[in-house]
């Protein structure tokens, strides 16, 4: 047999055309396979979501059900229901949220995830579904004016926006960073730090479960206003559009208000007025 036998069946030009066509088809197919996470989720029947497990009322382990519950989790459930798939929760801490998305370990992050331009370079964000401001917890009566904070030891969570904002607004403060808010609060309780800073709702949620909460207060001022969004892997346009559309629907049919009220409504231990609605201009 001759080595050129196969090639002699068609002329050179047809071969070239066919190769180009194959390449194009491959590109389209692989493009679809890689770029559309929304399809992958539907196919797998599972939505993998990273949420906090120790930040009430956003994400925390419920003592009765032993499951992760919270406002973020309710939104995650609503998104999974809308897709008609199972929800699989992955506990995370603040510093792991971007790496989890970048490394494709989860499909979405709903973990009190503040939208920032720096983070937006690494991940996609949905429209905001919640807004909160950065506040402080101090022992009652100790903070006379905001300026006092400049000489104080202040505890923050490692890897959060709060740390940067604190350093900028109060350059004189001695910043001590802890792994999460409960640790920071323990440090405040012990007197290792004189104040801790976090988003207001999280601080109120934390205080609600403290037995001696009368000893502490959240002074009525914020040093920033943060918009919280859903973290989505970079470039997943279809998934981002789906999340945005679903969030707006939840607001329109009143479910968003219902979710909010079940965690911050007047009947709860952590009453907080709802100032921001999904779809509002930031």
């Amino acid at each position: 047999m001759n080595r050129t036998d196969g090639a002699s069946f068609m002329n050179w030009k047809t071969m070239k055309k066919l190769t180009a066509l194959t390449a194009l088809a491959l590109a389209v197919v692989s493009g679809l396979a890689h770029a559309d996470r929304l399809e992958d989720i539907k196919k797998a029947g599972v939505l993998r979501v990273a949420a906090f497990d120790s930040n009430p009322p956003f994400g925390f382990v419920d003592p009765q059900s032993k499951q992760i519950e919270g406002l973020d989790v309710d939104y995650a459930k609503a998104l999974a229901d809308k897709l008609g798939v199972k929800l699989q929760l992955q506990p995370t801490n603040p510093a792991n949220r971007v790496p989890l998305l970048v490394a494709n370990k989860v499909d979405l992050v709903l973990a009190n995830f503040t939208i920032t331009p720096e983070r937006a370079e690494q991940v996609n964000f949905s429209i905001p579904y919640f807004a909160s401001g950065q506040q402080f917890i101090v022992k009652k009566g100790t903070l006379k004016s905001q300026e006092d904070l400049n000489g104080w030891r202040v505890g923050v969570d490692k890897g959060t926006v709060n740390e940067g904002v604190l350093r900028k607004k109060f350059p004189g403060a001695k910043v001590v960073a802890y792994d999460d808010t409960p640790f920071a609060f323990t440090a405040l309780r012990n007197g290792n730090v004189q104040a801790i800073t976090q988003d207001g709702p999280k601080l109120i949620g934390l205080l609600a479960n403290v037995p001696d909460r009368d000893k502490y207060e959240v002074p009525p001022f914020t040093i920033s206003n943060d918009l919280i969004g859903v973290g989505i892997p970079k470039g997943e346009t279809a998934l981002t559009e789906f999340v945005d559309k679903t969030l707006l629907e939840l607001e329109a049919n009143g479910q968003a208000q219902k979710i909010y009220d079940s965690w911050f409504g007047p009947q709860t231990k952590t009453p907080l007025e709802r100032l921001y609605k999904i779809g509002d201009k930031s």
Binding site: A95, Q122, K158, E163, K174, A187, G191, N192
Partner: protein
């Protein structure tokens, strides 16, 4: 391939953290060796008054994770102390050493050093003990038969050989202490691992931030390794350390 380099400001953060790691682990090694040696002697003592407390110490510190011990000293113990004392410990103080003014270390540093020292000393005591056990009992008997006093037997027969045997695992414990110092970031001490995580948070240059920290750890361990090799190749060392 690895993206841009880190801005000088972030390199400064990493170097500051590295310096703190070096100081913390060097002091911890020094203190835990000073504590580990008498601990080993107490553990070997035929008198129960000495050996039992030493056994208890070794058991407690070797059977619990270092992270838990650090949490215990930093969060646990301070919650029992009077409020005024904790406030004083957390206040910045200045120590006058002649013309030089030393800044009092932060409470995070003190708690980290304390926890790391107690933990490491338990392991170092056991390395010393293994070294002593490697010298056969007959040698002790022979020394006594030659008319040496028990203290002289220790000084001229047992210790030189025991320390020679114990040195390589001892250096291994120093390396462990250096790596374990990274756990102090959990109590808010701004050492190298803490700094690398902070740089990562600010810049999102994950590879560079953790890569540089990794290299610094490797380089320091390599220096300890080289020192160990050099010591072991000296003639005097092979005859007995002291």
């Amino acid at each position: 391939m690895f993206g841009e380099l880190l801005a000088p400001q972030y390199l400064t953060w990493l170097l500051d953290g590295f310096l703190l790691t070096l100081v913390l682990s060097a002091l911890a090694c020094l203190f835990s060796t000073a504590l580990g040696f008498p601990l080993c002697l107490a553990r070997l003592s035929p008198r129960r008054l000495w050996s039992w407390p030493a056994r208890a110490y070794l058991m407690v510190f070797r059977t619990t994770p270092l992270l838990i011990q650090l949490f215990f000293w930093y969060f646990g113990v301070t919650s029992l102390l009077p409020e005024d004392l904790v406030a004083w410990l957390n206040m910045p103080h200045e120590v006058a050493l002649g013309p030089a003014h030393l800044e009092w270390p932060s409470f995070e540093f003190i708690a980290g050093l304390w926890g790391l020292t107690l933990y490491t000393s338990a392991f170092i005591a056991e390395e010393f003990r293994a070294g002593v056990a490697s010298v056969r009992d007959e040698q002790r008997a022979a020394g006594l038969a030659l008319g040496l006093k028990p203290a002289q037997v220790w000084r001229y027969v047992i210790l030189p050989q025991a320390l020679r045997t114990a040195l390589p695992p001892l250096l291994g414990q120093y390396m462990n202490a250096l790596k374990n110092s990274s756990l102090a970031m959990a109590i808010g001490l701004a050492e190298l691992s803490y700094a690398s995580r902070q740089v990562e948070t600010e810049t999102f240059k994950t590879f560079q931030a953790f890569g540089i920290a990794t290299l610094l750890y490797i380089a320091t361990i390599a220096v300890i390794e080289v020192i160990g090799q050099m010591l072991q190749q000296r003639k005097r060392f092979r005859r007995g350390v002291i």
